[in-house]
């Protein structure tokens, strides 16, 4: 009886897991039009109005632990354009709360898109020898770019410490000024080059590569840019990247080609991070030939 119940549950979960896959199969192709101008990394750019949109369904993540059975974000509105050398995506979704801080118990909103590096890859964040490129926009990085590094003084306005050993300057000792190695040594993630720990953020989009669950790694070269704006309960995020950045992890995409792209979203307010996310199946993106 117990075993039968477990089998039933497994089947049910399988249906849930394949749900977005089935929905994805019915989704329309996204047309990425060619435009002659430069593409500003700005969700408010007027050119976006003319670009065709599709609705992308997002489902629960139940393949790698920890699961997210009841994800918060279930639908993205996606647009794409390209100008022959750059491709840009506009991702928009409803989110009742804007979460951009990473405190000990808070999480930030985020969105990502995934493209196979080769011709095709498994939807499971790739697989061995089926590498995927992931472009991951993070609200906390956006905050760093827009307002300067979100230090203790910003995250905890009431906190105060008179002195930190080795730290130069005056309270509140903005860590961007910690240029001496004695102080920097104790900001371990920073000194080891972890992109999360860099106080001087240049972009809100992190380029990553993966060959299956647990293999996600920051790409050695970072070519993507982006910008996210939150207004009226909605995030609008642009993620843009050159088709070819002279990178071995450049996807096989370009004008005139159709490539599979998958999407994922995180609601920081619901504690979503890592595998706790909602995700889509592959969506075909038809990139118009250059000049048309």
């Amino acid at each position: 009886m117990r075993r039968a119940r477990r089998l039933l549950l497994t089947l049910l979960l399988l249906v849930v897991a394949l749900g977005p896959g089935l929905a994805g199969a019915q989704q329309k192709t996204l047309r990425a039009r060619f435009i002659r101008s430069a593409i500003p990394a700005d969700p408010g750019w007027r050119g976006w109005r003319l670009a065709p949109a599709i609705e992308v369904q997002l489902g629960p993540q139940v393949m790698a632990e920890p699961w997210q059975l009841t994800p918060s974000i279930t639908r993205l509105t996606v647009k794409a354009v390209h100008n022959g050398t750059w491709v840009a995506f506009l991702l928009a979704w409803k989110d009742a709360t804007r979460n951009a801080a990473m405190q000990t118990d808070t999480f930030r909103d985020a969105v990502a898109l995934m493209v196979p590096v080769g011709r095709a890859a498994s939807i499971t964040m790739g697989a061995p020898k089926e590498r995927v490129l992931i472009l991951h926009w993070k609200a906390d990085w956006q905050e760093d770019v827009d307002k300067g590094f979100q230090d203790v003084a910003q995250l905890y306005p009431h906190a105060w410490l008179d002195w930190y050993p080795f730290a130069p300057g005056e309270p509140p000792y903005d860590v961007r000024g910690w240029t001496n190695p004695e102080a920097r040594r104790y900001l371990t993630g920073w000194v080891l080059g972890n992109p999360r720990s860099q106080p001087d953020k240049r972009t809100s989009v992190e380029e990553q590569v993966a060959e299956g669950y647990g293999t996600l790694t920051t790409n050695e070269r970072q070519s993507a840019v982006g910008k996210g704006v939150y207004t009226n309960g909605e995030w609008r995020v642009v993620i843009a990247r050159p088709f070819a950045a002279g990178d071995p992890n450049d996807p096989a995409w370009g004008p005139g080609k159709t490539v599979p792209v998958a999407f994922a979203a995180w609601d920081g307010g619901a504690g979503e991070i890592g595998g706790r996310k909602s995700l889509s199946d592959w969506v075909a993106v038809r990139l118009s030939p250059a000049g048309r």
């Binding site: 990473m102 000990t104 993630g189 972890n194 720990s197 669950y213």
Partner: protein, 426 residues
């Protein structure tokens, strides 16, 4: 999911990774009976590792007053309640089968309940499938590391909640005790199991568990998955950090160490002499290799006077505690498992060897790998719990990894009596 052997539970259990064991294991014994709660250990750690920005709230070493204190607040009660919920829903009794007790690989009994890894498999609800049952503490729960310091339980009917006869053993009626906590560098770490990035690793040379600061993505799943809440998120680097077991000292790379392994900062700073830390040799099958005169091996495996903290969580922690002898036994059994009664009995009337080994606590910064006892004269006789007990002034000698003598102490401390006319002269 692979099955691994957990000697503290006396059985195999589920764990996300196959069994692989280090050659040596970082381990320690804390004698809760002697702790004065001075927090010198906490400050030694803080001034070495966590004085920088974003680490303000971090105490890799903390001392909390039980039963009410906790850092983060109520960490153990919260997890025990979560475990209890799963046991009730799964209709499983978290009992210990005493009949199955058998030797050093099953010293306590067999645990029939669910570990944090097994309990996680029983939860298919919307809260999501986790590798290890756990929760993420709130910011507020980290804020008062020494909340309820020295707060004792109340006694019903007594004035001010105190009992006039409360101090009589075996159990005080109003009680509290200090619980000293660092990372347990578990054999089957909950943090490591919970990390989807494989950014946490256990070192093959000494079993120390570390978070790779370059690979960590700051998901805080290790904070959620560590039952002892010894992984902590750092807002200034947006990745998690944890106790590093002062590994440069353990490696013998500290300039003071003379090339041999040395105890951590929190251990060597201990004023109350409650701490002894070392390395135990691990056999290929993961069991503790026979090492009769290693003080940790003796205290934990031979005499069984020191017990793991919440062994039922299933991570096989490598921190061991001599339980406080005045505290109600049901509370202690919940915290240290079913070996509590035997451990207290042994501690209250220590054997000649135990009494000698207890003298080694906090006598040298070097890790003691072996001890030797030279017998001395009988200096005292009495009865304890109705049984005759004698004290001998034995000498105990400790040796470092290179086999050099690093300490020599006697059971009786040397006494010097000042002439009466100079009681306060300096």
């Amino acid at each position: 999911m692979p099955e691994v052997y957990n000697w503290q539970l006396g059985r195999k259990m589920l764990y996300p990774y196959e069994e692989r064991h280090p050659r040596w294991q970082f381990a320690f014994v804390f004698n809760t009976n002697r702790c004065i709660g001075c927090q010198t250990c906490s400050m030694a750690c803080k001034s070495t590792w966590t004085f920088s920005k974003g680490q303000e709230y971090m105490w890799w070493n903390n001392v909390e007053s039980k039963p009410y204190g906790g850092y983060p607040q109520f960490w153990d009660v919260k997890l025990l309640r979560m475990l209890d919920d799963v046991h009730q829903r799964a209709n499983v009794e978290p009992s210990w089968d005493v009949a199955k007790r058998d030797g050093k690989e099953r010293p306590y009994v067999t645990f029939e309940g669910l570990t944090i890894f097994e309990a996680a498999r029983k939860r298919y609800g919307p809260e999501g499938h986790q590798p290890a049952l756990g929760y993420l503490p709130t910011d507020a729960e980290w804020r008062a590391p020494n909340i309820y310091e020295d707060t004792s339980t109340g006694y019903k009917g007594g004035a001010f909640g105190l009992s006039t006869t409360g101090e009589s053993l075996p159990e005080h009626k109003t009680w509290f005790f200090h619980l000293q906590r660092i990372c347990n560098h578990c054999t089957y770490p909950g943090c490591l199991a919970a990390c989807p990035r494989k950014a946490i690793y256990k070192r093959p040379e000494d079993g120390i568990v570390l978070i790779d600061q370059e690979r960590c993505r700051g998901y805080k799943m290790c904070v959620e998955g560590c039952p002892y809440k010894k992984s902590m998120f750092r807002s200034t680097t947006r990745v998690s950090e944890k106790c590093v077991a002062c590994y440069p000292r353990i490696e013998g790379r500290d300039p003071l160490s003379d090339g041999v392994p040395m105890e951590t900062r929190c251990m060597t700073a201990c004023v109350g002499k409650i701490r002894l830390q070392g390395l135990v040799r691990i056999a290929e099958d993961g069991s503790w290799a026979e090492d009769r005169y290693n003080p940790l091996y003796y205290l934990i495996k031979v005499d069984r006077v020191a017990l793991p903290l919440y062994p039922q969580f299933g991570t096989e922690p490598n921190g061991f505690y001599i339980p406080p002898r005045w505290v109600p036994r049901p509370y202690l059994r919940q915290m240290f498992g079913p070996g509590v009664d035997e451990a207290i009995e042994k501690y209250v009337a220590p054997s000649r060897e135990l009494l000698a080994v207890l003298q080694l606590f906090r006598t040298t910064q070097k890790i003691i790998f072996r001890y030797e006892i030279r017998e001395g004269a009988k200096v005292y006789e009495t009865t304890i719990n109705g049984k005759p007990w004698a004290m001998y002034n034995d000498t105990i000698i400790g040796y470092d990894k290179a086999g050099r003598e690093v300490v020599r102490v006697t059971v009786e401390e040397p006494v010097y009596e000042r002439p009466a006319q100079h009681p306060n002269s300096i």
